[in-house]
Symmetry: D2
Subunit: 345 residues, 4 copies
């Protein structure tokens, strides 16, 4: 059994990790780290865990973490900075759900986050934890920068067209819609029920940090420096991201031809489901599961592909992907503990 610590266990990404790990056949939770709820049973904080997992939450104690095989860090921005280097020093692998270790280049981080990177030397060895693109490096990594939710959805949606050269690198638009769990459990007026039910809005237009992650990975794939529009929206549902991606085509082709490129690209990927022509993803098809669904329609009038990709932001966009990375890092079948259909209803 893999001994795991979940640090930041009571946020939404953290508690989804707890849900997945508590049902994982090859992992066990040894530590539930939570500053706010230290001393309380997780099953009092999230009462769905009664009779399932009734461990107490605790403040982070590096000596205790040192007895684990892997630590998942789902900490508030800033808190992970000092903790992660300490954990790594003690020989424990880290899968970090923050943005800190997702960058090839500290300068990009610093530009989009507006602050100095605290441990740029770790960026050299950290691996961007998107298994569909970096599986081999993940297997031997000791520090994973687990990708953002918008990012996973957008990169996997665009990658095949850019890798194949069929898609133009100019004029790419990613218009993304996210459920409210993406905003976290912290209190804010914008996540008050009465403010966000029956409401849709765009936010952080042209400035959202995930833009830089998407650009980094798509540039790597295409071999060209890509800059694109990424527009996040908040929609009145809990789970799910739907990205609508507009990519001009370098030559005329049909929806079926583009779908063939996607099917080939993802032919060995269990967690990516390329839809047949005429079908499109919906967030309810992926909610509660680790799948990314991708559909394509080519607008032949405009020689443009409209790619629609969907995932559950706290599963494939956070906790599920982290477990998938853990599986790879410890030599398990990457599907272990993640083979469920989602709940649909």
């Amino acid at each position: 059994m893999i001994k795991t610590a979940v640090l930041g266990a009571t946020g939404y990404a953290g508690i989804e990790l707890v849900r997945l790990l508590s049902a994982h056949p090859e992992a066990e939770i040894k530590i539930l780290g939570s500053k706010s709820f230290a001393g309380q049973k997780i099953s009092d904080v999230y009462q769905n865990f009664n009779h399932i997992l009734e461990m107490a939450c605790e403040e982070t104690d590096i000596d205790k973490v040192a007895e684990c095989d892997v630590a998942f860090t789902a900490l508030p921005h800033g808190a992970s900075k000092t903790v992660i280097p300490q954990i790594l020093e003690r020989g424990v692998k880290v899968i970090d759900l923050s943005g800190d270790y997702r960058y090839d280049d500290a300068a990009v981080y610093e530009k989009w986050y507006g602050e100095k990177h605290s441990s740029p030397e770790l960026l050299k060895e950290s691996v961007y934890g998107l298994p569909e693109l970096h599986r081999d490096r993940i297997k031997s990594a000791r520090l994973i920068g687990n990708p953002g939710c918008y990012t996973t959805c957008s990169i996997l949606g665009a990658a095949p067209l850019l890798k194949s050269g069929l898609g133009s690198t100019k004029n790419i638009i990613v218009d993304a819609k996210s459920g409210v769990t993406g905003a976290g459990r912290g209190l804010a007026l914008q996540t008050h029920f009465c403010e966000c039910t029956e409401n849709t809005k765009a936010y952080k237009v042209a400035t959202h940090r995930h833009t830089s992650e998407i650009e980094q990975e798509l540039s790597n794939i295409s071999g060209e420096k890509i800059m694109l529009s990424f527009t996040p929206h908040l929609i009145p549902q809990k789970r799910g991201i739907l990205s609508t991606i507009y990519i001009n085509l370098n030559k005329p082709c049909t929806s079926e031809e583009v779908l063939d490129v996607y099917k080939e690209f993802y032919k060995n990927e269990f967690f990516v489901r390329v839809k047949e022509s005429g079908f499109l993803p919906e967030t309810k098809h992926v909610a509660g599961s680790n799948f990314v669904d991708i559909g394509v329609v080519v607008d032949e009038r405009l020689q443009r592909a409209i790619v629609v990709s969907a995932l559950d932001n706290i599963v494939k966009g956070a906790a599920g992907q982290a477990v998938q990375n853990m599986n790879l890092m410890f030599g398990l079948d990457e599907k272990t503990g993640l083979k469920n259909a989602g709940f649909y209803l």
Copy 2:
């Protein structure tokens, strides 16, 4: 592996059965019966099943069902009538999710359903599939009348007070609130999104069929003929029933004393979680799981207990309970395939 047939697989109770059985370690689905979608893959009808279960749906063929160990019948009222006796004749056990086999007395059925019972002789051997009350009889049954969703929630909420004699059998009120999955997948104006979001209403006041089931079981438990008010409400959410049950107390006592009665009554029940004093159930604590949560507050001014019970109507109120019954009928640990925490988010 237990070979199972799910007849009526594409309704909401049916597809939840498919979700649970497809992840069950000791059962396999051999038949997905669906009149409306015969010939289509279940993963086209419910696209969350892509890469998980891609079997085709089919019309019911008794010869094929005869090769299974158990059939779950989640058929429209009326359709099950002719099918179930035929299945039983072929030696296959049946867990029926309709109301047809839940009654001790055909006359009660006929009064509340307004029609003759088609096979009253089967009522003698059918067992009311509420494991917390009838576990032993379920183990040896070949025909289970799987309880209704409102019913399970209400009976388990009231049983300890009535069994103990602490609760009065007079003036019992069950005020129940249900999510919209309870209304099924059939098209109706009242389940149109724009009609039922931002809306709460009572319906079938004083006439809902589940009243008779609740009265039957509580009368059996208390040893007195009980008649009570049961009022169902439709609330704008998918999953979940919350029953608020008002029972006058035969002597003064505190919340803690009543909770002790509940804890004792359910001390061996994994799927019933009695809350500590000061905590109350919420539907999100049980959504996606097979748990029933029960809390109690005694209003000492009025010498009355207010019991709040909650479950997921399509899990413990339908599909999960059916799987729990199957587990018992086939000698498995009744928790098999049902030990998850629910999804909370």
Copy 3:
């Protein structure tokens, strides 16, 4: 034109007052009081008011309030204490939306609110602002205790049966379901979108303060001291309260006979709509309007009436009722500014 001040204009009751008053043909808003948003335009805080009302919010200045005809106080509990006596002294009428001036007897207030009443002498002259019961006294009042939302819904639902003597004063149960605007705009985990969507729960069981208001008014109507169960629930919608009220009948009668009692009782009331037999209220029928809808089903098996009443908690349960009171206090037709159908969608 009636000159009005809205103190506490940026809470949910306050902003609904602003919405109603800004469209009222005989009133004008002179002051928008808001501690948190002083200096900001109301149309920046609630951007639906752009092009409609672009006044700035300000901190309460008693000298300015003194130039108004009436002040609506929708202040946090405690804040109104010192302000209201000062306003009254300056000859300005007050319609207070807090619980402070709703009681005949300071002792009842003190028992349920757990603190001394700050100005018990004002309770003698303050009038409980439920026009359907106290219209004449409201007309000449200078201080109105505007009823609570649960309260209005419950009192108007039960009053005719208790006034007529047809309903028993024993074993009355009020099971009420409220939308989330009732919890106000303040930040709290329980009103976070992800916590309250897809969720239903009971809260403050047997201890909610509105119990005492309901008991006071129903006791006055019936001439007997009434104690009853009142159970509030939080349901995942913005607006609306639905109360399901159980009252035993002192003699056998039909739904139609009870409905006749209601129709007679409310025959001159524009804002109370008694449903025909076979119809029941739904919160969407009243959302956005000042109506209370009431339906009745008699369970003849049990000799019990189940009364269902519905209103919009921030209109008839707060701001609309306050405007109705203002209309009465200033000699206007009480329907002025309130004659709309609600929005349904």
Copy 4:
């Protein structure tokens, strides 16, 4: 008083017309046309109208319609074909909410609707009822093609940039998100509450009919033939459309410079609210009102404007705009009956 007929009064656009007209100070409803509910009171079909409007619905009788000044036709596609020419012949003005009379060129209609236009001769005189662009022609029209909901939102969002020449006519993307009222009241699986709550999806990608309307109007404005991507999405809320529009800029400029172009363009328009820099529209700011809100962010990295526009699809996107057109056609202030702030909550 303008005598009006609402034909198709019980659909969602129809009932919103009824809501607006029943409160309109200069109009009265003479006919409520409804095939499905003929003979029933509108207040039984939509019970929010009790005590407000209790007229019976009726089947369309051209002789009765002939006594009105104007008929609003909100009929199912096809039904309006025969009725509208007859009404016009009788000297009654028509405001048609279908797509039939929105086109300059029957060929465009026929391409996107896949059928022959039934009365192409009427297209010559019908006026596209978008007051912000065609006010003068609307004033003297006898037949209005009232614009679609997506269309109004998208055209008004893009018009200033294209009119000014600052925006490129190439690579325009309109990514639109709509609430479920846009799908109408007819029963369909996709509008079942359990299917569309907690779900977001794209639909009719590259093929939605409104594309052709948007292209027609923007081509007229810019003087160039424009073809663009329009992608509609269904989001889990009742009211509201948010369009995110991507337009490349022909020269570098700032958000403020682009906003100045918008403010100038709409300086005399009451119903268009251009946001200040740093503010963006949300659907809840416009819900229930006739406003269109527009915000702009320029991504200077990409020399691209991201325009966000929002409206209520059944008000400014249907019924409200129809009333605005009626006001213009009958010489009233166009704001009559439409000056409310929306409901926000």
